[in-house]
């Protein structure tokens, strides 16, 4: 089993006339880091930077597997991510969506793997195109997407948003299972919305530019 580590070093992000955060640093080998803060505090932006979807204004993100620094291309599959603005192809089914993303990532998943993944988020019986999915079902599919490429690090932004009690239990179980062997980063507006976290990073609010860290 590979050991992974994610490290943020002095991350800063600002847009013209709008500094978002500065000097955010942490390192995680395994367990759960929860990022909490109000709307607009920069949580989603930070998670996207960690996922490689956005470039920081300053600072670095390092992802290591077995002590080796991963390249940007390797991080695409090594870092699993889901966020509230992740959408799926409405004409395709859940299985077809995941199958497509696996193929285009160069890591096709077998029929059984996808079925197991969908079962893990409670979508085993969900048929039909995604355009007919409810909000909660789409959110569960987002979680499945994050775990699709057998990642070494998982980032989940607002993982329980719109999900019912059954779904919350399923997601919490997935997170707990993953956190035993890999770093998991979760983001939400309130700590209560997240499964148990080993560490917490608090974003204080708009334009304060600082993240506080406490356990």
């Amino acid at each position: 089993m590979a050991s992974a580590r994610i490290e943020a070093i002095a991350l800063e992000k600002s847009f013209p006339g709008r500094p978002l955060f500065a000097d955010v640093s942490f390192a995680l080998d395994r367990g759960v880091l929860a990022i909490v803060g109000p709307n607009g505090s920069g949580k989603t932006t930070l998670v996207k930077i960690l996922a490689g979807l956005l470039t920081p204004t300053a600072g670095t993100v390092r992802v290591e597997r077995d002590g080796r620094l991963l390249s940007a291309e390797e991080r695409r599959s090594a870092v699993g991510w889901s966020g509230p603005d992740l959408a799926f192809y409405p004409e395709l089914t859940a299985r077809e969506n995941l199958d497509f993303f696996g193929r285009v990532a160069g890591r096709p998943a077998s029929f059984e793997d996808i079925r197991s993944l969908l079962g893990g988020v409670g979508l085993a019986e969900a048929g039909g195109p995604v355009e007919h999915f409810s909000t909660g079902m789409k959110q569960r599919l987002r979680i499945a997407f994050a775990f699709l490429l057998r990642p070494d690090v998982v980032l989940l932004d607002e993982p329980l948003s719109g999900v019912d009690a059954d779904g919350r239990r399923a997601v919490a179980a997935l997170v707990a299972d993953a956190a035993r062997t890999m770093p998991v980063v979760l983001a939400a507006t309130a700590r209560e919305e997240l499964p148990d976290a080993t560490e917490v990073l608090e974003f204080a609010g708009r334009n304060t530019g600082q993240g506080k860290r406490y356990k």
Binding site: L86, P90, G106
Partner: protein, 228 residues
């Protein structure tokens, strides 16, 4: 033991196959493209007919009309390659798992196959309706293949740029037409030669050079155009 991972072309093919699956399921978009081509053909045939053009100008005008029909039929779908990904929000997931060059190649391939489908149906119909003779079918095939690829790669790349900006449909026509005219001019010249049976190869070489330059530039700039 490391598992054998799919290569670049397999990944690009996955993008092409997904776009095809979406279009075939939606059907409205594909139908509208072919309906546009059929309408344009019908209008041209009605207005000009097989004997409406002076004989000395026929090969030049027929070639131009054919490319007008092919280009504008394709133009109803070409901008949508990347624009739709941004509009539906699926671009984010795609950007997460694949580099821009893989996605660009897959979408360009889909656009190329769509263009060929339009050409396969339109060219024979054009030939019948306007009594247009092609003395060098091989020459015509070459120009459709080369012209189609150039059209696809340039339009797909520009669609990636326009997708990250606003006012997408209007913007696409503004940015694409100046870059596509140097493709259409030799394409029409080569089509004239193919219909007259006097293929000297110059316009085909220009097309091949254009396609090569555009493909290399799109390959090198793909990541810049689409990723953040």
């Amino acid at each position: 033991m490391s598992e054998r991972r799919p290569g670049f072309f397999s990944r690009a093919w996955a993008v092409c196959a997904k776009d095809a699956a979406q279009e075939l399921r939606r059907r409205v978009a594909i139908a509208s493209i072919f309906f546009f081509a059929a309408t344009a053909l019908a209008l041209v045939s009605y207005a000009v007919g097989p004997f409406g053009l002076p004989p000395e100008a026929r090969s030049r005008l027929d070639a131009s009309l054919l490319w007008v029909i092919l280009f504008f039929s394709a133009a109803t779908s070409l901008p949508r390659a990347f624009v739709r990904e941004e509009e539906t929000g699926t671009g984010l997931g795609l950007r997460k798992v694949a580099p821009g060059v893989v996605v660009l190649a897959g979408k360009a391939l889909f656009n190329f196959l769509l263009f060929l489908a339009i050409a396969v149906l339109s060219v024979p119909a054009f030939s019948v309706l306007l009594e247009w003779q092609v003395r060098s079918p091989a020459g015509l095939a070459a120009v459709v293949l080369l012209g189609g690829w150039g059209l696809s790669i340039v339009s797909t790349f520009l669609s990636a740029l326009v997708a990250r900006a606003g006012q997408r449909n209007v913007l696409f026509l503004d940015v694409s037409i100046p870059l596509l005219v140097p493709l259409l001019m030799p394409a029409i010249a080569a089509t004239i030669q193919a219909s007259e049976g006097a293929v000297d190869g110059t316009p085909l070489r220009v097309l091949a050079a254009y396609d090569g330059a555009a493909t290399c530039a799109a390959y090198l700039l793909a990541a810049v155009a689409w990723e953040d």
